[in-house]
Symmetry: C2
Subunit: 364 residues, 2 copies
Amino acid sequence: MRLAVGMGLFRGAGTLLSIFPRSLAAAASARSQALVYERHGEPVQVLQLKDLERAELGHSGVHVKMLAAPINPADINMIQGTYAILSDLPAVGGNEGVGQVVEVGSHVTSMKPGDWVIPADAGLGTWRTSAVFSEETLVKVPRDIPLLSAATLSVNPCTAYRMLTDFETLAPGDSIIQNAANSGVGQAVIQIAAALGLKTINVIRDRPNLQEVVDRLKSLGADHVITEEMLRKPGMKDLFKKVPKPRLALNCVGGKSTTEMLRHIQHKGTMVTYGGMAKQPVTVPVSAFIFKDVKLCGFWMTQWKKEQTQNKDRFTGMILTLCNLIHKGQLTAPACTEVPLKDYRIALEASMKPFISTKQILIM
Amino acid sequence: MRLAVGMGLFRGAGTLLSIFPRSLAAAASARSQALVYERHGEPVQVLQLKDLERAELGHSGVHVKMLAAPINPADINMIQGTYAILSDLPAVGGNEGVGQVVEVGSHVTSMKPGDWVIPADAGLGTWRTSAVFSEETLVKVPRDIPLLSAATLSVNPCTAYRMLTDFETLAPGDSIIQNAANSGVGQAVIQIAAALGLKTINVIRDRPNLQEVVDRLKSLGADHVITEEMLRKPGMKDLFKKVPKPRLALNCVGGKSTTEMLRHIQHKGTMVTYGGMAKQPVTVPVSAFIFKDVKLCGFWMTQWKKEQTQNKDRFTGMILTLCNLIHKGQLTAPACTEVPLKDYRIALEASMKPFISTKQILIM
């Protein structure tokens, strides 16, 4: 399974996997169950739970028993065929998750049986019971963090961490603003920012259970939670009597929400766009560039990981930093619903409902 | 004359100037003629040529006889009251120009009588026959460059130079794209880029005398000149067989022009916005940020200069670099129409016509 990217070929891991059974007579222990799609389309229609033969271990292979893997929006879009990177078909769904090492090839040095591992890169195909991956596509994580934290560590908390540290040099007491604050990344931003001593202004859409969501985000460490409607009102002035104007804005929405956030950013501040939930472009008044000197850029964890493939030290360093926050209780997994792999249709349908408040996790 | 800025107070030079005659009996040599406005409005209506008394020379004053001063769009907007910095009223119009030092105060060390000087900062009020300015508001320029080059050096060529050097590290053979390529900045970009060995793709509006403008820009060193319409067409693919995709885009327009330029920028490229002639915002697809990793920022020469007030070395270094290009014939003044100060109404009216192709220069 190689992944074809919009901008070129993408290094996948699945070349080690022969996706269709070589022989029905193969030993049961060399087989795995996987959610496979042979064409793009709606996930519930195109995904099938199939019995696959695992690839040979070889010298640099790592046989991993998958433990848990979330359903993320990017997984859905990859299956639909609308994402910026797409797997060659047939492909196994899922890009994130945690597994336990069962056996390693003779050349493998960075992990051993019993270790927990997560994907170092997108496109691994994590929705399966087991697989042989090559060593460089995996990163070891401590085994003493909760399973659901490990399963949801490699995308959202990493995205949040990089966006909080790579674009502006922030000091305790500085503030940041973000929309889609209830998303997986949004919740990680709240927690990591709180651990760094940063104040967060969190924008969410109005919704039936608004107070419940506000309370939950505040319990995670959110300093201020406001609706998109409040963001547009003059009352924002009062907010900025309590908290400094943000140096950094994190945008996962686009459209009006983005333009409104920009209005409140500090002179010379930065907005990082990492999603476009509103399916509308980012619109910036020319004066914000010229007279306010704002910078706008983007972030995509998949691209960042790709750029670390020659040297995973930054990645493993970040994972250890995040696990340290998890140990200290400063970073928790999002609210999750655990669903057995065989019930994947229920999980897929739940993951695609609007205003979902829990992440669907496939348990293998 | 202090300048009130949108974001705070702006250091002006005019505090040394008492703008109204102290006495009609004052010596003729201590007087000057100046284009003064007492209220904001249309320049031809609110500007008046007045007889003013010059301020005292003092220890750090520099008595300057103005030689030539252009009419720039920002000058017009300041008088209209629509610009981001506005002078306290009454004020003298004009922010750019060249003058000759007549006399210096006893503490002045960086310039002497006979030197040519240009403003180090916006808000000097250059549309007058003479004035006493303080030393730190001026920068010396070599006297062996053409008068019109000196008069038009401190805004457009400086803007072009900074945008070409401060945002991307470009090497000979790299390309840049710019819209409004026929503007003052645009023409400076073409020439400085050519001197640096950069290829330029220059976008201009369609117009009656299109071929004439194309020829002129090519004579300045433009590699490719295209219209806004051509920018939107599939034929752009052929252009990029001849020239690499640009790492840097310079935007003075906004709206569709900007979005179209962004489509052609390289992965991880930068767009710098320095004007908004279309009076429309900059609209960026979310995917350009996330998957193409483009950066958008702004540039404003006035702000840059303000940030150099403690140390003018970078400014004077840039001026010498640009004068070196002028000496070598690689940077020429834009097409200019010289108009005596007393005929300022004619010059103002000409400067506000659409598709103006010459810059109006007041000659004192």
